[in-house]
């Protein structure tokens, strides 16, 4: 709805402002500090930026709808890893031996299914037991990680399929495969959340759960659907990334949940639920990736990177608060 989206833009304005700052800073600083003769803002570099934002980005978009819905999902990192293992492992299963390269779509589907199922499990537990999503997914973060190790012990699971790698590394209209997926996911879910009944009901549930129940919204199914979506997206993120890299360590994806949540909140989504902006989340993801890339570009060392990234996150929040600051005469509570 028009005034909804304009509000989105204002609320997530801080993040875009910050992105511009980053670009300027790293271009200037880069000119002095970087060993590279290439400008930071060089087109290829920006295209890479988008591509490199995909793994966290796709998950973060899913996290946005979960948080709008008033929940949270800490298990995405583990889901991501498990889907990756299914993807790479299944391609070597004897049953599919005959398929040749047709094994690829099969493996993709299996991986995505894994994500959906894991998501559904979280969702149904949250719905039926009434245990807080934070706890449910904090626990399944551990449980799903356990399943990851069951699949293949501590060994990495690997299957390099060069056809797949070439597809994943391909560029169409200059954009990498991963970028296309990121953009598609962002647009589709933005549409779902702003235009569909499910999306609006999800907002209502996160905004005032009691009111939603009183109004006869079937809260449970909406919650489950959203968890299935984020499960799917975590798996999709894995599918896109591991199609290229072809090998997964059992502890891959750790801390992804925290980066995703960070991106979401930087994008202006309310942790409490009820209000959120998918577009803003996209900005949040770009901002974080830009920061990593930029610090690498100007050759900052590990201590500095940790220090700076941490403080910058806080700075962005502060900037955001200044932008949305209430007027003097407002109620001060």
């Amino acid at each position: 709805m028009s005034n909804e989206t304009t509000k989105d833009l204002i609320k997530s304005g801080a993040i875009w402002g910050f992105i511009v700052l980053e670009l300027i800073f790293f271009s200037v600083a880069g000119a002095y500090l970087s060993l590279s003769d290439n400008a930071f803002m060089d087109l290829d570099n920006m295209l890479l930026l988008l591509k490199q934002s995909a793994p966290i980005g796709i998950i973060a978009v899913g996290m946005t709808i979960i948080m709008i819905n008033g929940n949270i999902d800490l298990s995405v990192g583990a889901t991501y890893a498990l889907a990756a293992i299914v993807l790479l492992d299944s391609m070597t299963w004897p049953i599919f031996a005959g398929l040749g390269n047709w094994v690829i779509p099969v493996a993709w589907i299996l991986a995505l299914l894994t994500g959906v199922v894991l998501g559904a499990i979280n969702g149904i537990i949250v719905w039926k037991t009434g245990v807080d999503a934070f706890i449910v997914t904090l626990a399944s973060m551990l449980g799903y990680r356990g399943l990851v190790f069951m699949m293949n012990g501590e060994q990495p699971t690997s299957h390099l399929n060069w056809t797949l790698v070439d597809f994943a590394e391909a560029q169409f209209l200059g954009l990498h495969t991963a970028t296309w997926f990121l953009l598609a996911v962002t647009i589709i879910l933005w549409f779902v959340m702003t235009r569909t009944v499910h999306g609006r009901n999800a907002h209502a549930i996160g905004d005032n759960r009691e009111a939603a129940v009183n109004a006869g919204i079937r809260v449970g199914p909406h919650i489950v659907i959203n968890f299935m979506i984020i499960g799917f997206l975590a798996a999709l993120s894995a599918v896109v990334f591991y199609s290229e890299s072809g090998s997964v360590n059992p502890n891959d994806g750790m801390l992804y949940e925290l980066w995703a949540i960070t991106a979401v909140v930087l994008g202006g989504t309310k942790l409490a639920g009820g209000y959120g902006s998918i577009i803003g989340t996209f900005g949040g993801v770009i901002a974080i990736q830009l920061l990593r890339k930029g610090l690498g570009h100007i050759g900052a060392d590990t201590e500095t990177v940790n220090l700076v990234i941490g403080l910058i996150l806080i700075a962005v929040l502060f900037l955001d608060r200044q932008l949305n600051l209430k007027g003097e005469e407002e109620l001060r509570v």
Binding site: D37, E154, L160, F241, N251
Partner: protein, 298 residues
């Protein structure tokens, strides 16, 4: 000769994780600065494959002359490495190798032989048992490194393969990961001590964890009966050996590791032909021969 100075980029596995890797980083930077015609870009993947691949892409994009990589995952980085190869940027792998499938795209590997390290630890353990005359009934527990790290996997593999060859009657009763973390490994050992009345040996994936296990035993007053053997001799391990509570380890210097990696890169850039696998030696160190070694700086 295109450049008077070489631009060399390195992406490290996980600098913060322990003092080995941090010392490696500072040693590498020092070595690079000491060398007038080397400029280094030092990146840390923080243990995250995706981040490491992105860093390789960035290094390619910055058109460095050579890339050194300490893989977070020996297979996953191969396609990234291939990209570098396709851009004619030589890649040197350091500390723990990448998988066979990638060998075509890398110029050389430089680092310790972690499988050999594992088997050497097994030998140290076995020799000690033989001296104590318990080589026929001894029971051993293992505390391995962070699950999924090549280093951890290779050391465990080396130890588990070698032990039965040298001490067929020694029993490896249980293995639990200690995540390269002293406190975690201390907790694991505490549980072992409750569970097993009779533990004669502890093999730890590195000395950080070994000392953690030792602390647990000391707290339970059971350190005397137990032979502690580790790997990557950290200064804590060295001190514990001086104190006589910790038996042996593998001497592996992150400084050698880093300098070897940089040197290999330079040699490659100078067009000298370097062996594909150049391991630097990582000898056994025990209470008996420790005076031959200087105390580790990390």
């Amino acid at each position: 000769e295109a450049h008077e100075t070489y631009r060399i980029g390195i992406t490290q596995n996980n600098v913060g994780v322990d003092s080995y890797q941090t010392t490696y980083e500072s040693a590498f930077i020092a070595a690079a600065e000491a060398n007038p015609n080397v400029e280094a870009v030092v990146l840390d993947a923080g243990g995250d494959v995706a981040r490491q691949i992105a860093q390789v892409e960035d290094l390619i994009q910055q058109e460095v002359d050579a890339i050194i990589i300490w893989p977070t995952n020996g297979e996953a980085v191969i396609p990234a490495v291939r990209k570098a190869f396709q851009e004619d940027i030589p890649v040197i792998v350091t500390n723990s190798n990448i998988a066979e499938a990638g060998f075509d795209f890398v110029a050389s590997f430089s680092g310790p032989d972690n499988i050999t390290q594992g088997s050497r630890s097994a030998e140290i353990m076995c020799e000690r048992f033989t001296d104590l005359g318990i080589q026929d009934e001894a029971r051993v527990v293992q505390i391995s490194g962070q699950p999924g790290y090549t280093t951890a996997i290779e050391r465990a593999q080396g130890f588990e393969e070698r032990l039965p060859e040298v001490c067929p009657n020694v029993e490896l009763v249980e293995t639990q990961p200690g995540d390269w973390n002293r406190e975690k490994s201390q907790q694991v050992m505490e549980a072992f001590l409750v569970k097993y009345d009779d533990i004669d040996g502890v093999y730890a994936g590195d000395d950080n964890m070994g000392v953690g296990a030792l602390n647990a035993a000391v707290a339970a007053g059971r350190e005397d009966g137990i032979t502690f053997v580790g790997a990557t001799n950290f200064s804590v391990g060295y001190e514990a050996m001086e104190a006589g509570t910790y038996w042996g380890s593998i001497y592996q210097s992150p400084v050698d590791d880093a300098e070897a990696a940089l040197q290999t890169a330079i040699d490659v850039l100078n067009g000298e032909d370097v062996p594909f696998l150049n391991y630097f030696d990582t000898p056994k160190i025990t209470q008996d021969n420790m005076d031959e070694f200087s105390k580790p700086v990390f």
